[in-house]
Subunit: 396 residues, 2 copies
């Protein structure tokens, strides 16, 4: 089945570049714009696969590199693949380890052939090549594979950025060859290309053109949300979206806060992943009316009402907000469990609201409304004061 | 309703002192022998009240002292009581804080009036008196209240043990007066007496006699599992059981491993609580065929079968054991969540097996079988080798 039969766009916003569609995958349809909860090590932190299914998640993200190191991609293959291992039966997208080439860059050595990472958890050397990553993703049973790439930190010089981008583009071509050789074809297996280009508009456009010419089933914008100012991220993601093929899904990797997602949808992005809903939960932060609030704040101490009276998640349906606040203060595991559930529920409902607004032709007004309401809660790149321990760019 | 209508014994073992019965409480019947999962701070660690209900827990334990300090017994009262706060609708037994008089003894000052504890979490002084504890337990909405007592560590001298025991007995009498004054009567509110006496047989018998003469609805054996050798615990618990009224429930506080519970049931004990199922889970230890096993052990690394193929809990029904082992090694929250669920399920099923055996007249053989099978797994006071971080007597 060609990719254009896998991805169908069924509505477009008349005022923005937003579009609503569906990815028809054998393990289940994925309605876009979609948010993927992050399950780096084969678990969306603190939640079960059954809970994610009940929350309506259609697609989750796991990390090929991390699972290759622990418990081992061969181990998972022998046990019947990642879906069976973690009891999640809907589609999985696997990130390649390109992010770890950045986040573990002090422990990584990059050559034209690939990258060697001295893993901080096991102390062992893991070798990743463009071909090897496809093999790992095949073993895991990934539904949507990402190729190995080499993003660069914000502030990297022009020459090094150009070199890493050209290498990422060459690696992308090698990944395409390898997936063909292995017969990993749609709709069972999608492979998305990743545009790089650092923080240079020219390199971003070059990379979009080169990657866009390769036979990928969709295209990701990589290397953003890597420490750059929010306006830089937005300018580059908009420019990148415009430069990538319109008829394939576009994935803005690692983004972000609710307003970041709404803005990127307006720029034509279809797929998102971010650790924030579960990481913020572990720091006592929950989303209420599209804004992150800190449960340690004294206003919640004796709050008899639910955290969000409009929310239908278990944490809001069963408990007074004061109970959640107590669990957070007492550092009880149930606290991060219930807040993780609430925050993932919130993100999935946000995407539903976005899709409905696009289908109804009202997305422009929806985006303006959320911009107005949440801009007052601070810059979109920083949750409200009191969000202690909030750190968007460390490893999940 | 007098207490003998609340507690009914319906079967007795012909070979041991074991008996099976039921505590008829307004919030639901509690079949005995019963194991109470420990929810010190209003949460059985890592589990929801809904999960405990689905597992068939009939009675859980919370700690009046800890909840009085955090979030405050007045706060919980204003929010409608502990049951509503934590969304648990079956009975709750509240421990008094007597255990903390022991475990926080370096921060506690005891007088005839009561005890002042410098709380290690808040840094504030909490004052507990026999009357004040009853008031706190009334505020929380406790179904089964425990009075303030003063247990002593193993190795305490005879004079100090006698003094603490006599004081505990006087405090017990004051608790009875206070519960009368407040009209906290069965079946809505039970109050159990606590026998003390340290590690002296004579003092244990004295205390059992004095506490046994007070109008309690049941009797607990306190101050055991406090660092003494297992044979000392068993001798004293057997002697104490014999000395306490036969027609009321008997509660062996803080015990224990499966074999400890089976032995104590044989000695006539009806109620148990212990942090082990959830604490061991947090250290990667699960009960399989009545024996604790360490999931970090290499034997689980590629185990495709469930942890316990005979177990119906979610952790065993949905996942290969290798997934649980991976979560434990990766220190994922879901790992301690699923092992906590499994271990609490195991303890509750153990009690069901015990009750069925008593009802069928086969408890003697049941106890012999479990003694034979698990004695090979090491002394009952110590789980098998490799149970890292196992420490039975620290605060939950």
């Amino acid at each position: 089945m060609p990719a254009d039969r896998v991805f169908r766009i069924h509505a477009r916003c008349p005022r923005t570049r937003a579009r609503a569609g569906v990815l028809n995958l054998p393990r289940g349809p994925v309605e876009t714009p979609v948010f993927m909860p992050v399950g780096t090590l084969g678990t969306v932190k603190a939640l079960t696969a059954g809970e994610l299914e009940a929350l309506g998640a259609g697609l989750i993200l796991a990390n090929a590199y991390h699972l290759h190191v622990r418990p081992g991609s061969e181990v998972i293959e022998r046990l019947g693949g990642l879906h069976r291992f973690m009891a999640w039966h809907r589609p999985i997208l696997t990130d390649s380890g390109g992010y770890q080439v950045f986040s573990l860059r002090n422990r990584a050595r990059v050559t034209e052939d690939g990258v060697t990472i001295n893993d901080p958890c096991t102390g062992e050397l893991a070798e990743l090549s463009p071909e090897g990553v496809i093999e790992i993703e095949e073993r895991l049973g990934s539904d949507i594979m990402m190729p190995l790439d080499q993003p660069v930190p914000y502030g990297t010089g022009a020459a090094r950025t150009a070199e890493a981008t050209a290498r990422s583009d060459r690696w992308a071509a090698r990944a395409c060859v390898e997936r063909e050789r292995r017969g990993l074809t749609p709709p069972d297996r999608l492979l998305l290309g990743i545009q790089q280009g650092g923080f240079s508009e020219e390199l971003r456009l070059d990379s979009a053109r080169r990657v866009g010419e390769l036979p990928f089933d969709g295209y990701a914008v990589g290397g953003l949300s890597f420490g750059e100012p929010p306006e830089v991220m937005r300018r580059l993601s908009r420019l990148s979206g415009d430069a990538l093929p319109d008829d394939r899904p576009r994935y803005l990797m690692g983004v972000g806060l609710p307003l970041d997602i709404v803005r990127a949808v307006a720029d034509g992005m279809d797929m998102f992943d971010c650790v924030l809903p579960t990481r913020l939960a572990r720091h006592g932060v929950a989303f209420v009316a599209d804004v992150p609030v800190q449960l340690r704040h004294s206003r919640w101490r004796e709050e008899n009402a639910p955290l969000d009276p409009a929310c239908a998640c278990e944490a809001c349906a069963l408990y007074p907000a004061a109970y959640l606040a107590h669990l957070v203060r007492a550092k009880e595991i149930l606290g991060c469990r219930l807040l993780s559930l609430h925050n993932v529920h919130y993100y999935l409902r946000l995407m539903e609201r976005i899709r409905s607004a696009i289908a109804a032709g009202t997305f422009g007004a929806f985006a303006e409304d959320i911009e107005l309401r949440t801009a007052g809660a601070g810059d979109s790149s920083e949750p409200e004061e009191g969000v202690s321990g909030w750190s968007p760019r460390t490893v999940d």
